[in-house]
Every structure is written in C-alpha cells, then in structure tokens.
C-alpha cells in the first residue's frame, strides 16, 4: 500500500522500490557505490566481485585478505553485520567461485582480522601476489589478475 503511490508517482521510469535482506542492504549502502549493485564494477579502478570474489577463499590468507582490506576493516558495521556482508558478497554475488564446502565467515573471525587491517603493505602488490598463487596453485582464472571492470 505504501509502495503503490511511490511506484507510480515518484519513481517515474525507475524500477519499483525493492526490499532488501539486511546483508544485501548493508552491501548496497557500504560497497555497491563502487563495486556495483550486483558486483559488476563499471570502472577499471574497482575490482568486480560477481562470480569471482570467492576464489580468494582457496587460501587462508585470501580469506583473511577480504576482511583485512582497509574499507572492510574500517567499516562502521558491527562484526556480525560485516560477517553477513562478506558472506553475501562471497556466496551470493560471487556465487560459483568459492571452493566447495567453504565455511561462511563468523563474527569472531571478522573481529580478529579487522583488528589487523592491511595498512602496512602495498595493497596492489599484496593482491597481485595472492592472485598469482591462486592462479598457479588453485582454480582461479588468469582474468583475476585484472579488476574485471569495464575499462571504457
């Protein structure tokens, strides 16, 4: 009933207002501005997540990497919320890329890793090193070297 007038009068040509799950909403508010609503970044500066972010879970360091990235670790979200966002990101947006049987992130794990944010490393070099290992020893495609964004 509330959405009725919004859908027609205020949205115009836009799609009707959607309702989100809590992790999806947190992802949209905290990440989607750059990584895209569905994990497809349209900037060559930002890594795409769709169907590929889960490859990082092949390595323990890669699993930690996702939660130690500065904007993840420094997020205003709680450990519980952040675990929810990472699980949504890895298992739904990244669907098909996480190793079979990968455990979901737990709040306690997030609490630990976000206390060690990746601030003392050269981030791009650290990522490159992880990605090379993921490609040579695990299942990651060579395209993971790039960000997969639209390089227009």
């Amino acid at each position: 009933m509330i959405l009725g007038p919004l859908g027609s009068a205020y949205l115009g040509a836009q799609t009707p207002a959607a309702a989100f799950s809590a992790p999806q909403r947190d992802y949209i508010l905290a990440c989607a501005g750059c990584h895209g609503l569905h994990g497809v970044s349209n900037s060559s500066l930002v890594p795409s997540l769709q169907g590929r972010v889960g490859y990082f879970l092949d390595l323990p360091e890669g699993r930690a990497y996702l939660s130690r990235l500065p904007n993840v670790a420094f997020s205003t979200l709680s450990d519980e919320q952040l675990a929810g966002v990472l699980n949504y990101m890895v298992f739904e947006i990244g669907a098909g890329s996480a190793p079979a049987g990968a455990r979901p992130y737990a709040a306690a794990e997030i609490r630990r890793w976000r206390s060690e944010p990746l601030t003392e490393v050269t981030l791009s070099a650290y990522r490159r090193q992880l990605v090379e290992t993921l490609i040579s020893r695990y299942r990651a495609p060579v395209s993971l070297r790039g960000y997969g964004g639209d390089a227009r």
């Binding site: 509330i2 959405l3 009068a9 207002a17 900037s43 500066l45 639209d150």
Partner: protein, 183 residues
C-alpha cells in the same frame, strides 16, 4: 394534467432510492463512521509527532512534488547542482552528460510514508558545470560522513575513472527500501 417526462423520471428515481435504502441503515452507517472517526485519524498524527523529534532539518521541510527544488525528499544528501534544473531529471543525466561510473549510496526518508529509502548519488560527467540558478545549488548532508570516510562523502566528485572527469550536475536515484516504517 399529465406529468412531464422530467417529473416522471424524478418520481421513478425517488421510488427506486426509497426501495434500496432505509433510514435505519443510513443511521447505522453514520453511527459507525462517527464512532470510528476519533480512532482513525489519531494513528498517523500520533506517529508523526513522535517521529518528529528524530527528524533531521532536511526531513522536516522535505517535499515530494518538485524535483527541481533542493528540499525534494531524495536530495537529503545531494551536494551540487541538480540535474533536474539542467535538462535532466532527478535520476537522469542531461543530454550529452554521462552518469559517473561510481557513486556513493545513502538513505533518505520519504516524508509521507516515513520509510527510509536507499539512494544512489551519481554525478553526471563530461560537460562543463551546469549553470543553473542559485536555488538549484544544494547542500544536503543527511548521513553524509567527512571526506576521510570517502565512500560516504558527498564533496567528492565521483566522475573520476571516466574519460572526462568534468563535473556537470548531480542526480539521486532511488534503489529500494532501506528500512521498515519508523515507529
């Protein structure tokens, strides 16, 4: 004297009305409406006054009819020139300008439903800054964070990453419902 056609029609309508309705049923309905009246209008009014204390200044004066004004509800954190004053819409770029590849995303409260909506603040890029009147230069700041929290900041020109990083104007696209209604 024979009746005129208008008289005959009037008589037929009156008789039909009398056949369908009774004074008793009218009184019953009126009574029901009167007893329900004090209850119904109270609900939204009471809710509005309780929610008022939690409102931001922007939310107190927000409107839903004119997207060329800074107090249009979706612009609660819009900082810049409104594209709706520059030949575009509240969520569309003017001809010749392109939406920024990245943006920041916040929430605005719809003044009538009281619900919070997810809004993507996208800049339109690739043309010199739109020269619209002063009333189109807005500085909403609801739930915006300082520049050192860049992903939630509206002073940043989000055109970077495009071939031309020239800022033209600002849009606010509604993505969906952020929350349930405020209590």
């Amino acid at each position: 004297m024979s009746k005129s056609p208008i008289d005959r029609l009037g008589e037929r309508l009156t008789r039909r009305l009398a056949g369908y309705s009774s004074r008793r049923s009218f009184l019953a309905r009126l009574g029901m409406a009167l007893s329900a009246a004090p209850v119904l209008p109270l609900l939204p009014v009471a809710r509005a006054s309780a929610a008022d204390a939690a409102k931001t200044d922007f939310e107190r004066y927000a409107q839903t009819s004119d997207p060329t004004k800074c107090n249009y509800w979706k612009y609660c954190a819009s900082d810049g020139v409104l594209c709706s004053c520059c030949g575009g819409g509240s969520h569309t770029c003017p001809p010749g300008a392109e939406p920024s590849p990245i943006s920041w995303i916040g929430t605005c409260v719809h003044p009538e439903s009281g619900r919070s909506y997810v809004i993507a603040y996208r800049d339109c890029c690739g043309k010199p800054m739109c020269s619209a009147g002063k009333s189109c230069h807005c500085d909403g700041a609801d739930r915006e964070l300082p520049t050192y929290r860049a992903p939630l900041n509206n002073d940043i020109i989000w055109c970077f990453g495009k071939a031309s990083a020239t800022y033209h104007c600002s849009t606010a696209a509604l993505l969906g419902v952020a929350d349930t209604a405020r209590k």
